[in-house]
Symmetry: C2
Subunit: 312 residues, 2 copies
């Protein structure tokens, strides 16, 4: 893609993280980083988180860190030392700020490590946000709905918590299945996005029949009047860190927020539909399959609300 | 794992492959190989094949090469130049033979490449076969049966081909789904193996209810009298290259070979059950869940048959 984004010329930052704490050191991005026998490369066997660096902080850090630990646990990786990861992130941010004052994408990666050593591998990268992402943030996305293509076999029960929210509890029949972990085995999502792009769309919303699940790399949020809705997370719907931050923040500002089973018609009759995620933040859905979704009067207000939730 | 296998001290060989043909060059295995922004690392987005190097050849090369091309196509990667891959493999084998006359494991990896360049990344590695694998080849494996944990949603039809074999034709409802491709997104298989090992087993056979699917990284073959059977490949049962070579070879030697739906009881009443794959070649199943499978009289004959099929 042609680019006149000055950010593109900002050199990425890579910080190698000692998995059990220890030195924090920079790695030269022009050199290879990962060994041939690392489980990340040979098996997609590792976890990651993607964070937005804005101003003097990593947005929504606590929720990302919490999910990172949960993903590691699901993959039976040694518990990461969060203080250490956060220190490395702050160091990376500091280095980024010496280069530019623009936002950046920060990825934490934690793998099972090299076959020859058995010691986990860990690193943090900071890179410029692509034009593509900035454009989608500004102009929205055309979305194809689609079945996910597979079903996690599970026993599912639904209950109501103290605050009246519906809570889904779901146990996969295969107890090791890393459902709910953000793993590096993302080939299916990437293939879905390629398919969508090949058919004139920008993104995908997975459906189970008529039921809305999630975006390929984002959480679905609808706005109608003063109500924000998102599909009930759990099972193979990854709990969204950005959506969680948004709902907490919006509730404090008078919006009524609830996780709730959403149907296709809920998308079509909403005032607006959003795909929220950490770096793109919020992309308004401006088309679902062959239906155009009109720009709502309060688009800027909603966008500001989501940015506000992240302190971005 | 402690080891007195002299092979362990043989240095791995890495050959970087130019994806569109060109120079074949060695990469130093003590140095990192893969860049931080390679799709193999960030998304498990790539394909691989594992071959056995034995004597002066790569075993079953044609079938591996064919599946490699099929996997690439399913992932919408540019068609690999097979002549070039084979030349690189021969070069790697030649180098290995300068070091030792023992068998080796050769892996072909082909990824979508770096985000910053968009050019696929490709390399070949040759490494010693681990003691663990040699031990399982010799002594067999204890296997846990288990549901796969997910179901590929698909439309399936069954027909009979000219030779009377039942052929399953299966179309996933999600057309991009990379079912049948050997991708780097293997985290679920790795998790299943970890679970099995944590419970005193060596390996996993996936089941769909009572129906036998495949091993975590192998094809299931049963022997009863002069009959060899394997589950019908297709759908989410990866066509096995070693099983295919075995069936062709065994047919020529008077065995009756057929792909056929297998049930749990077929495993239990077989003379012997085998997990076949390219490097471990054949591991006899000596326990399925809590049932011990007795060693058959013809164990050595069957093993020799499978080795013979690979020219190993």
């Amino acid at each position: 893609m042609a680019s006149n984004n000055p950010e593109k010329s900002v050199e990425p930052i890579i910080i190698a993280v000692e998995p059990f704490g220890g030195s924090i050191r920079n790695h030269q991005p022009q050199l290879p980083l990962v060994f041939f026998d690392d489980a990340a490369v040979t098996r997609g066997d590792g976890v990651f988180e993607t964070l937005l660096l804005h101003g003097d902080h990593a947005c929504n850090l606590e929720r990302h860190a919490k999910r990172f630990v949960a993903s590691s646990r699901l993959l039976d990786l040694p518990e990461p030392n969060l203080d250490y990861w956060i220190a490395a992130t702050n160091k990376a941010l500091e280095q980024w700020r010496e280069r530019t004052d623009r936002d950046a994408k920060c990825v934490w990666t934690y793998t099972r490590g090299r076959a020859s050593t058995g010691i986990p591998t860990a690193w943090i990268t900071v890179t410029a946000i692509s034009d593509h992402v900035l454009e989608q943030r500004q102009h929205g996305v055309k979305v194809m709905t689609s079945p996910r293509g597979y079903t996690i076999d599970r026993v599912e029960t639904t209950s109501t918590d103290d605050e009246g929210n519906v809570v889904a509890t779901s146990s996969p029949v295969a107890p090791w299945l890393v459902v709910g972990a953000k793993t590096l085995s993302y080939a299916a999502n990437m293939a879905a996005l390629r398919w969508a792009r090949g058919h004139g769309f920008d993104d995908v919303i997975y459906m189970e029949g008529d039921k809305v699940l999630e975006g390929a790399t984002s959480t679905v949020v609808t706005v109608r009047g003063d109500k924000l809705r998102t599909p009930i997370p759990g099972g193979d719907i990854l709990p969204g860190t950005t959506q969680a931050a948004l709902f907490e923040h919006a509730s404090q500002h008078g919006w009524r927020c609830k996780a709730k089973e959403l149907r296709r018609e809920d998308l079509l009759r909403a005032d607006s539909v959003w795909l929220v995620s950490s770096v793109r933040i919020a992309a308004r859905v401006r088309r679902i399959d062959d239906v155009k979704l009109e720009r709502p009067d309060n688009e800027d207000e909603i966008r500001a609300l989501i940015m506000g939730a992240l302190g971005a």
